[in-house]
């Protein structure tokens, strides 16, 4: 502002040409026309943008379509029973005389590993989210958020490898279990994998609580802990629930880590030191050996449909919960 000429009419103005009369005022811009290629190019591009926009729908539908298409023949084949598929723990896909396709044991495996992972990850994840959002300084906050981002980036196969080597040794040493790859191992690994999601979404939802709430709380003399417990947790309840649901979604859908860390025994588990097999791991382990077009192959695809539906419901739930927050 300091370089401005002195106030009043600008000294430069007298030399400027006097404003043109209305007739002389040029309307060159208004008579300008965009070249045809530019107009049509823009239209084509907007068409492409629209197509890409709806591509997500196309992809989701075609995922369901193609997975279901491979699975469908077995449903109408006659020998296969959907009740047995869902409620029988007997999985003998390669038996000579009596093939049985029951995924109950795998369902139990998936749920036990996911449940254990959530029991471990939810308190720690939410605790860490609260710490990051409310208790630590801004420098530390940035650092921790970066660490969490990096944590989220670790490939699942590396987690699986850690479970297979490091974690299983630790488990054998400290629990005396005969094998180190079991529910506990898978649950721990999955917990470590789900924590970043829970932390980052939990932190987002805490951040979404207006600062005026915090200020009001502080003005009333509340300690940070009282503030968290009485004000922030109730206000951020939905976001935290969504965080947990997305963690569950990740747990149910995780493949490589549980494939390597849970031990591959098709059985209904009785304790956390039992080995199990999850739905995802079962597909990954057997798809390579199932001849294309066989019943075995189709049942594996059917398992895929089941998984797709499970995660669909969980993610839909999380989305509805999140939408609930935004509405408020």
């Amino acid at each position: 502002m300091s370089a401005r000429p002195k106030p009043g009419p600008a000294p430069a103005r007298p030399q400027e040409p006097s404003p043109p009369a209305p007739e002389a005022y040029s309307f060159a811009v208004r008579s300008a026309r965009r070249p045809a290629w530019s107009v049509w190019g823009e239209r084509a591009l907007e068409g492409a943008i629209y197509l890409c926009g709806i591509s997500a729908i196309i992809f989701v539908l075609s995922i369901f379509f193609f997975v279901f298409k491979e699975a469908a023949p077995v449903l109408v084949g006659g020998e296969f029973s959907l009740t047995e598929f869902l409620f029988s723990p007997e999985w003998y896909p390669t038996s000579e005389e009596n093939k049985r396709y029951g995924v109950l044991a795998m369902l139990a495996g998936t749920f036990s590993v996911t449940a254990l992972a959530m029991v471990l990850a939810v308190p720690f994840g939410l605790g860490a989210a609260i710490y990051i959002s409310e208790f630590c300084g801004s420098k530390l906050k940035e650092t921790l958020k970066i660490v969490i981002e990096l944590l989220a980036a670790i490939p699942s196969v590396v987690w699986g490898f850690v479970g297979l080597t490091v974690m299983s040794k630790l488990i054998v040493t400290y629990t005396g279990a005969p094998v180190g790859v079991n529910i506990l191992n898978g649950g721990l690994i999955l917990a470590l994998m789900s924590v970043p999601i829970i932390v980052s979404i939990g932190e987002d939802s805490l951040k979404a609580v207006p600062d005026s709430y915090r200020e009001a709380g502080v003005a009333l003399g509340a300690t940070k802990w009282q503030l968290v417990r009485r004000v922030l947790l109730p206000a951020a309840k939905n976001g935290l629930l969504a965080a947990v649901l997305l963690g569950v979604g990740r747990g149910v859908g995780e493949t490589m880590a549980v494939l390597m860390a849970t031990g591959h025994a098709v059985q209904i588990p009785h304790g956390i030191l039992d080995s199990v097999r999850t739905l995802t791991a079962n597909i990954a382990a057997e798809l390579g050996e199932a001849p294309a077009g066989s019943d075995h192959y189709r049942v594996l695809f059917l398992t895929g449909v089941l998984l797709f539906s499970l995660t669909f419901v969980v993610n839909l739930g999380a989305d509805l919960v999140v939408r609930g927050i935004r509405k408020k």
Partner: protein, 301 residues
């Protein structure tokens, strides 16, 4: 309350208890935050120590020998690069344009809510279901066979939500007032996007693309049944080893194979493979974060 009595500012038992409570709470939450970071550091450290005997440049450039029990990881490393970049070439344009649609064109109606839902859902589909889809759609239905192409397409669809989400975030960070200023002077939506929105969100978009690289590099399940193989012989150090319709090795798959399927592997090799995979992914991520921090420090408004 009498505001002028000094007693107001002395510690009562209640105040002391409140402070104690606060300190305890702080430490509890700190321990919770530490509990997820410290094991991680220990694990990474342990992997590094175990991997040390094999971690040389030669390990990266060599081919596996003696039934993959010795040697290096070059074919897997190159395979991963192929898969990542081909999938990126497919999904980055689609993802960026999709995000442009969702953020700049879409009105808030039921149809676009369905699209949003589809994106969220696509992000939540288990990776093994993507693998089944890739097998059914690309390998069999489209007759691409088990190939780099099939695997890359599967990976591309799988990583699409990553780029959609980060691009949307980048676009949304451009203030609405800029768009309104453009609309006011008679710019079309696309002219507005080209002139103001894209140039100012390009760093965020780039960050998303980089994150996609790291995500694609680490995935195993989707490529397992669509194009990645246990072993494929290529020349040592050859960068142009694979064709689009061939199968390839991949780092993530290689780690899975040598740690579970192949007996008698030299002990340090799986660890070194894990370290290389982890290191590449984290390095790429760190680059994305660094770019973001740098760009944020020089915003134009």
């Amino acid at each position: 309350m009498k505001p002028d009595t000094p007693a107001l500012f002395t510690e009562t038992a209640l105040v002391r208890r409140k402070y104690r409570q606060e300190t305890v709470a702080k430490w509890v939450f700190f321990v919770m935050a530490a509990a997820m970071i410290i094991p991680l550091l220990l694990i990474v450290g342990y992997l590094m120590v175990k991997a040390a005997p094999s971690l040389t440049l030669g390990f990266l450039l060599d081919v596996p020998v003696r039934g993959m029990t010795e040697g290096g990881i070059w074919p897997a490393f190159v395979g991963t690069i192929y898969l990542v970049f081909i999938s990126l070439a497919i999904s980055a344009p689609i993802g960026i344009l999709a995000a442009v649609y969702l953020n700049e064109y879409a009105r808030d109606n039921w149809f676009n809510r369905v699209i949003n839902l589809a994106v969220i859902n696509l992000a939540g589909v288990p990776s093994i279901v993507h693998a089944l889809f890739g097998l059914g759609a690309f390998v069999y239905a489209a007759r691409f066979g088990y190939s780099i192409l099939s695997a890359s397409l599967t990976l591309a669809i799988m990583t699409l939500p990553v780029i959609v989400a980060s691009t949307r975030e980048a676009l949304a960070s451009v203030p609405r007032s800029f768009r309104e200023a453009c609309w006011n002077v008679g710019a079309t939506r696309w002219q507005t996007i080209r002139a103001v929105v894209l140039p100012n969100s390009i760093s965020g978009i780039l960050t998303g693309v980089i994150l996609q690289v790291s995500r694609a590099a680490g995935e195993t399940a989707p490529i397992m049944f669509t194009g990645a193989v246990f072993y494929k012989a290529i020349e040592k150090g050859d960068l142009f080893a694979y064709g689009l319709h061939e199968q390839c090795m991949a780092l993530s798959m290689h780690l899975y194979t040598i740690s579970t399927q192949v007996p008698g592997v030299k002990e340090s090799i799986p660890y070194a493979t894990a370290v290389v995979l982890l290191g590449s992914v984290l390095l790429v991520n760190a680059a994305a974060i660094a770019l973001r921090v740098y760009m944020r420090s020089r915003t134009k408004w």
